[in-house]
Amino acid sequence: MSDAYLQLDKLTLAYGDTVAVRNLDLTIGKGELVALLGPSGCGKTTTMRAIAGLLTPASGRIGLDGADITRVSANKRAVGLVFQSYALFPHLTVYENVAFGLRLKGISGPDLDARVGAGLKSVGLSAFAGRKPAELSGGQQQRVALARSMVMEPKVLLLDEPLSNLDARLRLEMRAELQRVQKETGVTMIFVTHDQVEALALADRIVVMLNGGIEQIGTPEEIYNNPVSAFVADFVGFENVFALKDGKLVTPNGPVALSGTAPDVAAGLAWRPRAVSLGSGPFQGTVRGTSFAGNTREYLLDTPLGPIKAEIDAGLPPHEIGSALAFDLPVAGAANLKRFG
């Protein structure tokens, strides 16, 4: 991150007296594709709106391309935003929607035609130029919204939950579309999502947010494999999360010793269901539920450590509900949490 392109310094954002984001520091490089990931109310959308200029920060600074844009109004920032609802102008055709910003820049005639044409072509909607937004499907509307922002050649393109309104098939298409646009134009892209799968699949770097602050920043691999806190671990699919005290797991039934030696620095340990080894080990549980998930079979165990989720290859012999089962939580398979809580 040596080349800071977009820089948020000690950014505090508030709606009236309600502080939504507190002292946020974030640096994003030119051409990066960054995901702001977090549950609703974590401040990710608020942060995005502040970058767009739709919300004036209570304090702090926003820098873009070497200039301080904290007080620059939204219509002069060269920041594009694809709204979750797409926010197409219902009274204008697809062509006029895409031409809207260009016309305001004073572009007209063949130049306008060429740029709108190129924008529509890049999202595969050339044939729809004369339609009204209401005559398009949700996926097509979103591509119009994308083209409308991209023809403005924004320095930063923001996307609010770009995939959440699409069905599974369109989602894959749009993901590929966004990656292609980003590779072709090199635009710096920031998208907001509450879906870890989307963030992991699409982003170069993920910013996990919680309660108006940043919980963790890292590549998808780092976030997926090495969550720093119980919250991030839980968010990216570590179903079995324990605090660690004096080298022992903190459980509802008191401290429990591990089969191995816990690392000194960890404040907690977390296991994905895959990392729980079933069939042997120092712990005992009872199978409460089981479900078949194609390649694997998932188990929910009642144990003295609390409920444990485990997952094994579907080819292995199944365990009946109600049967007793030994298991282990191997230290080697755990994520070490630096913070707990």
Binding site: G53, A74, N75, F83, F100, S149, M152
Partner: protein
């Protein structure tokens, strides 16, 4: 059996009640007799023709048109920003403002007329035409605010933000993407306001002076002295005018969606 028989009867009576007077007026206006009567004596268009020759009707029609058009336009100029503010911002006194704006429909027109006369025209020698204009603007304002509000509430607010991010100013966004999308509501409000103003009697009754009268007031005055079918002819013409306006509005705007 009884219910099946009953409902057409109710429907028929209802139609008679609603449309009957209108039909009677039309029939009476086509009379060839000298006095307003039903059933008409003979058939002729002489009273319909006579309406156009009565000078005071022409003046009061012009006055009514002026009030209906400009009073409604003034109400829209005030009402559209008000509706916008009420629908887009969470104002502290929004409910109070809504109530105050609605007052002219709730308060009997006769009180509004009397108040304007007693406290505006009499003490300050306020111009009657101006007083009528203000009164009609105030009367139409509630319709303007309500109908335009309904349109604005149905319009997503994020399109304004989208317009701003594409380089438009806030005000520009209002004119470029809000107004075009509530145009139907504004036209509907205009028509509703126009008809309300045009048909308005009680307020205008107090604010009529020498040479300044709206058409309905003039018609009342005319009937006091002259009891001929021309008044029926004029009424029928006005009814057709209203029907024509609403028909066109429905045809081209889908008027009933807004009211």
């Amino acid at each position: 059996m009884t219910a099946r028989l009953f409902s057409p009867v109710v429907l028929f009576l209802l139609l008679v009640f609603l449309i009957g007077p209108f039909l009677i007026i039309i029939a009476a206006s086509l009379s060839s007799g000298e006095t307003l009567a039903f059933p008409p004596q003979g058939l002729s268009l002489r009273w319909v023709m006579k309406v156009f020759t009565i000078e005071s009707f022409r003046d009061s029609f012009a006055m009514s048109m002026f009030l209906a058009i400009f009073g409604t336009l003034a109400a829209l100029v005030l009402g559209i920003p008000a509706a916008y503010a009420l629908s887009r911002y969470s104002l502290p006194a929004a409910e109070t403002v809504r109530t105050i704006v609605s007052l002219p429909i709730i308060v009997p027109g006769i009180i509004v007329g009397l108040a304007l006369l007693r406290y505006l025209v009499v003490p300050f020698g306020f111009n009657i035409t101006l007083a009528l204009f203000f009164a009609h603007t105030a009367l139409v304002l509630p319709y303007a605010v309500r109908v335009v509000s309904a349109s604005l509430d149905n319009l997503r607010s994020d399109i304004e933000e989208a317009a701003v991010l594409l380089g438009s100013s806030r005000l520009g966004a209002f004119f470029r993407v809000v107004m075009p999308n509530v145009r139907g509501g504004i036209l509907a409000a205009f028509i509703l306001g126009f008809v309300t103003s045009f048909n308005q009697v009680p307020v205008s009754l107090f604010l009529s002076g020498p040479g300044v009268r709206t058409l309905p007031i003039d018609m009342l005055g005319y009937m006091e002295t002259t009891y001929d079918p021309s008044i029926a002819a004029l009424s029928a013409l006005l009814a057709f005018l209203s029907i024509g306006i609403v028909f066109l509005a429905e045809r081209f705007l889908g008027f009933s969606r807004y009211v």
